[in-house]
């Protein structure tokens, strides 16, 4: 019951907050949401400690069980989701998104978080699908209602695009799950492991449906076009939730469904996935070199990072899965860090346009400047920070891909992705030069400079996230030990 409570609590509190709307003041709503997310995180930790899977019959007619459990594959994602929930609620102490009642915003965020938690904890493919869909409407509401586009049409377009892309992806996945369930005779993840051996056309078609559907969510080039507008328009908390949690649902789904259930057929299509991933790394990096909106730039750097994740999953070895989880968690932390930071900068500047000359951040707000350097350095994969290990392990895993995969294709992908990673250094310097180094002369010439440095909330949030970046960068063993058993969970991967 512990895990069920961990999911139900934020869902119920979120529903109540959403129902009450503007009849609740911001502090009360924040307090209620804070209690919910902290208690939920505590319950998740308790669930990990107790290690007791939960299972009740929900819809026997469809064979869907309400089954929640923690194992080496999902524990990192679950803890990340629980932690991000606390961060988002905490962040509202600095900036409450405009556009509606605070309780509505927090309610929608809590429901989305509860849905994502359920999806990660689910032990049944159809329950995973239902939970996957729970996230859609609250997230749509957050972007549509609290997004910061001044023109409603822009918000409308971004939010609708998000919903439609994701819904098409998830329905393709549903068809795949149904076909999988018929042939495997079950939707239970444990019984799906290795259920469809072989590379016959039907199995490949099922794997293709599942992979393409989930690649919309990850997102993998060229299915990523919903991401930049959604990230740019969403309020800071929404962007954090999107980048740190929702995208991971895609990665997790690819590991759990096509990779686990039909390893041979997945090996058949994985060169294409690897190529798309490697291409996305270069593509995202190139766009970041030219993008003038800082928030959009971070969004495209997400596309590049997700390219690494796709390459890691495609390599199909036990190490590849670990690398995918590592990159996902590291990206979750970095993107949360950068979106909170850039959200704060945008709040101060009024826009996130890099072409506008502004006083150097280093001079005006040294703490924010320091965080920016740290975040961008982590994003480009500097050794000693979390992302480095994700990218390093990915390239290492892709160097010797799992069985049945073309060595040549993967070697080419490694080379391309490594070049793409170098682009990260280029756009990082570009951003730092534009924002951090800045134009010292103009600073002195009486531009309307507001010397407001990082607020206490920002310092706390960015400090915690920064510590996590350093910790995972210095001691990758923390996460690698937790995920050490994935090979066995996936039916004995090499």
């Amino acid at each position: 019951m512990v895990l069920t409570a961990a999911v139900a609590l934020p869902f119920l509190v979120g529903a109540v907050l959403l129902g009450l709307g503007d009849r609740v003041s911001a502090p009360v709503a924040r307090a209620a949401a804070g209690v919910a997310v902290i208690a939920s995180a505590g319950l998740v930790a308790a669930g990990w400690y107790l290690d007791a899977p939960e299972r009740f019959s929900w819809i026997p007619e469809l064979g869907i069980d309400w089954s929640l459990r923690l194992d080496g594959l999902n524990v990192a994602f679950v803890l990340l989701t629980a932690a991000v929930g606390i961060l988002i609620v905490g962040h509202t102490a600095y900036e409450m998104p405009q556009g509606g009642a605070p309780a509505s915003y927090l309610g929608a965020v809590l429901i989305a978080q509860a849905g994502a938690l359920t999806a990660f904890l689910a032990g049944d493919a159809l329950l995973f699908f239902v939970a996957f869909e729970i996230v859609l409407v609250p997230m749509w509401f957050v972007i549509r209602r609290f997004g910061d586009g001044r023109v409603p049409e822009v918000r409308d377009e971004a939010s609708t695009r998000f919903v439609l892309y994701t819904a098409v992806g998830s329905t393709l996945m549903l068809v795949g799950i149904l076909l999988l369930a018929v042939r495997a005779g079950s939707t239970d993840f444990d019984r799906l492991v290795g259920a469809l051996p072989g590379q016959d056309a039907a199995t490949v078609a099922i794997v293709l449906l599942l992979t393409v559907g989930l690649c919309v969510k990850i997102p993998v080039f060229p299915l990523h076009t919903w991401l930049p507008p959604a990230h740019t328009i969403a309020p800071t908390g929404g962007s954090v939730l999107l980048a740190a949690v929702l995208l991971k649902l895609g990665t997790y789904g690819v590991i759990r469904l096509p990779l686990a259930s039909a390893p041979d057929a997945f090996a058949f299509i994985s060169p294409w996935l690897a190529l798309a991933g490697a291409f996305a790394v270069v593509w995202g990096g190139l766009i970041c070199l030219a993008e003038t909106d800082l928030k959009r730039l971070i969004a495209y750097s997400s596309v590049a990072h997700m390219g690494f994740v796709a390459l890691a999953v495609a390599s199909g070895s036990s190490l590849g899965v670990q690398a995918a989880i590592y990159t996902s968690v590291a990206h979750g932390i970095v993107s949360a860090f950068l979106f909170i930071l850039v959200g704060g900068l945008k709040h101060r500047w009024g826009s996130a346009d890099l072409t506008v000359s502004r006083p150097a951040l280093r001079e005006v707000s040294p703490a924010l400047g320091f965080f920016l350097v740290l975040g961008m350095a982590a994003g480009m994969g500097l050794p000693g920070l979390a992302v480095f290990w994700g990218e390093f392990l990915t390239l290492y895993a892709a160097w010797s891909p799992g069985g049945g995969r073309s060595q040549v294709v993967f070697l080419a992908c490694v080379v391309v992705a490594a070049i793409g990673a170098a682009l990260g250094a280029a756009y990082t310097t570009r951003v730092l030069r534009a924002v951090w180094v800045g134009d010292a002369v103009r600073t002195k010439t009486g531009l309307p400079v507001r010397h407001d440095d990082a607020s206490r909330t920002e310092r706390a949030l960015l400090g915690v996230l920064g510590l996590a970046l350093v910790a995972l960068g210095v001691a990758p063993g923390i996460l690698l030990t937790a995920t050490a058993g994935v090979g066995a969970l996936l039916g004995g991967l090499p």
């Binding site: 026997p60 239902v130 869909e133 409407v137 819904a167 098409v168 393709l172 549903l174 369930a181």
Partner: protein
């Protein structure tokens, strides 16, 4: 099948039919009385619902679906009586005629659901259709007259088709019975099987109009816009239950057959996909509430037909469950529309969720169910069970149909989110005129929403019943 079981299946139809006569009789004896017609009508319908339960379930494989569809028809009639507006009750003939017509169409629908031969089917279908034409026409407005005429012409054309189909069926199988045995008798004789398939296709094209399947859908938007909301509720529930019952009755002989029927499968799949995709596309362009409901109905009709493409009993169950979910959600929308009589434009619903949280919230939930998005979980489960039969049969082409249906999911979401955006938008500063509180719509609204919420938490309640 025993004789008693067959007779008991017509019990609800008999109760509703006798109730219609009773209403007219009392009106003839005491024409002065007022207001009793609604209550008598509801009492008769409750009686019909009780008699549904009496249908013996044992020894008759189709009994459950018959019971579910008859219940849907009867409950839909109760909704209609509650939603019909003052104008409809004040139409020529007064409330007695309105209530009697609703009861008559219910009798027809319940009878269709019990039919197992083409003759009963044809007669019952007409009994289910003609009173609706009258209900639309009685409203008396010019638009309603045109709509009724269009419905009448469509139903007459369809009647002709159905009669031809029935005749072909008899000449193909040598019997009027729509049973597996009748079909088994001709398996192996290629000409007769071809003739039988042709008969099914013609019968289905005749019935298709009632389910608003393309290309027989044209009457739908016109009637939804012009008719009274209560009459639209009849079209959404009772009439649809009759239509689906007829489609299942026609397809049932082929369901137990091992024979692959590519013509039938491809034909049904093409109709289902066209209907759901074009219906949703046109619904995207609607600016009036009832116009959107009408085109959404057309799109959803494609979804109701989709699981039947598999020509399996599981598909029939899925179609019935899907129809129940669709009907409950659409009735909730209609109740919301009925509360705000005259406000046909979608923009009139701007900010409704703030101004009137109960109505706005119920309508928002209904829209999410129709879109198949959680928290409207039951709508999502309905989509799952509609797609599932396509994946469980051996037919190779069916998964492709399922993938094409994915397009329709996205279109449908776009349609319903458009209205949802308006519902959750910030209300304009001008204080909107408070809608007069009518009890009928409000009770229907609450009942339909409670049903949807309960089913979202426990979808098994519906799925277990339909099985």
């Amino acid at each position: 099948m025993t004789m008693t079981a067959e007779l008991a299946a017509f019990g609800p139809a008999a109760v509703a039919g006798l109730g219609a006569v009773l209403v007219l009789l009392i009106d003839a004896i005491a024409p002065r009385g007022r207001g009793w017609q609604r209550w008598l009508g509801i009492a008769v319908l409750i009686g019909a619902l009780v008699s549904v339960v009496w249908i013996p379930a044992a020894g008759w494989p189709t009994a459950t679906l018959t019971q579910v569809l008859q219940s849907l028809a009867v409950v839909g009639a109760v909704v209609a009586v509650a939603l019909m507006g003052r104008e409809q009750y004040a139409a020529p003939g007064g409330p007695s005629v309105a209530v009697a017509l609703v009861l008559a169409t219910t009798a027809g629908a319940a009878s269709v659901a019990a039919s197992v031969d083409v003759v009963t089917l044809v007669v019952s279908l007409e009994l289910a259709t003609v009173p609706v034409v009258a209900l639309v026409a009685l409203r008396g407005t010019r638009g309603a007259g045109h709509a009724a005429l269009s419905l009448l012409v469509t139903s007459l054309t369809s009647f002709a088709l159905i009669v031809v189909g029935a005749a072909l069926w008899v000449s193909a199988t040598g019997t009027v019975a729509l049973t597996a045995q009748a079909w088994q008798g001709i398996v192996g004789e290629d000409t007769r099987v071809a003739l039988g398939v042709l008969a099914m296709l013609i019968l289905l094209s005749g019935i298709g109009f009632k389910l608003s399947l393309m290309p027989f859908h044209a009457w739908t938007p016109q009637n939804y816009r012009e008719a009274d909301v209560g009459v639209v509720a009849v079209l959404v529930t009772t009439s649809k239950a009759a239509a689906l019952a007829a489609v299942i009755a026609v397809l049932r002989p082929s369901m137990s057959s091992v024979l692959a029927l590519p013509a039938l499968t491809v034909g049904l799949a093409a109709v289902a996909l066209t209907t759901m995709i074009l219906g949703a596309s046109v619904a995207l362009r609607q600016d009036r509430a009832l116009g959107l409901v009408a085109w959404s109905t057309i799109a959803q009709a494609g979804w109701v037909l989709l699981p039947l493409v598999a020509l399996a009993e599981q598909g029939a169950q899925a179609a019935v469950a899907y129809l129940c979910v669709y009907a409950a959600a659409t009735v909730a929308l209609l109740a919301g529309v009925a509360e705000r009589r005259g406000d046909g434009e979608l923009s009139a619903y701007r900010g409704l969720i703030r101004r009137d949280p109960l109505t706005g919230g119920a309508m928002a939930f209904a829209l999410l169910v129709l879109a198949g998005l959680p928290p409207g979980v039951v709508g999502l489960i309905a989509k799952i069970i509609a797609l599932r039969p396509l994946t469980t049969t051996a037919h190779q082409a069916l998964p492709i149909v399922a993938v094409l249906a994915v397009m329709a999911v996205a279109l449908g979401i776009a349609v319903y989110l458009r209205w949802l955006v308006i519902l959750v938008a910030r209300p304009e500063d001008t204080p909107g005129s408070a809608a007069p509180r009518a009890w009928g719509p409000r009770i229907v609204l609450v009942a339909a929403s409670v049903t949807l919420v309960v089913l979202s938490v426990a979808p098994q309640l519906l799925l277990g019943w339909v099985r």
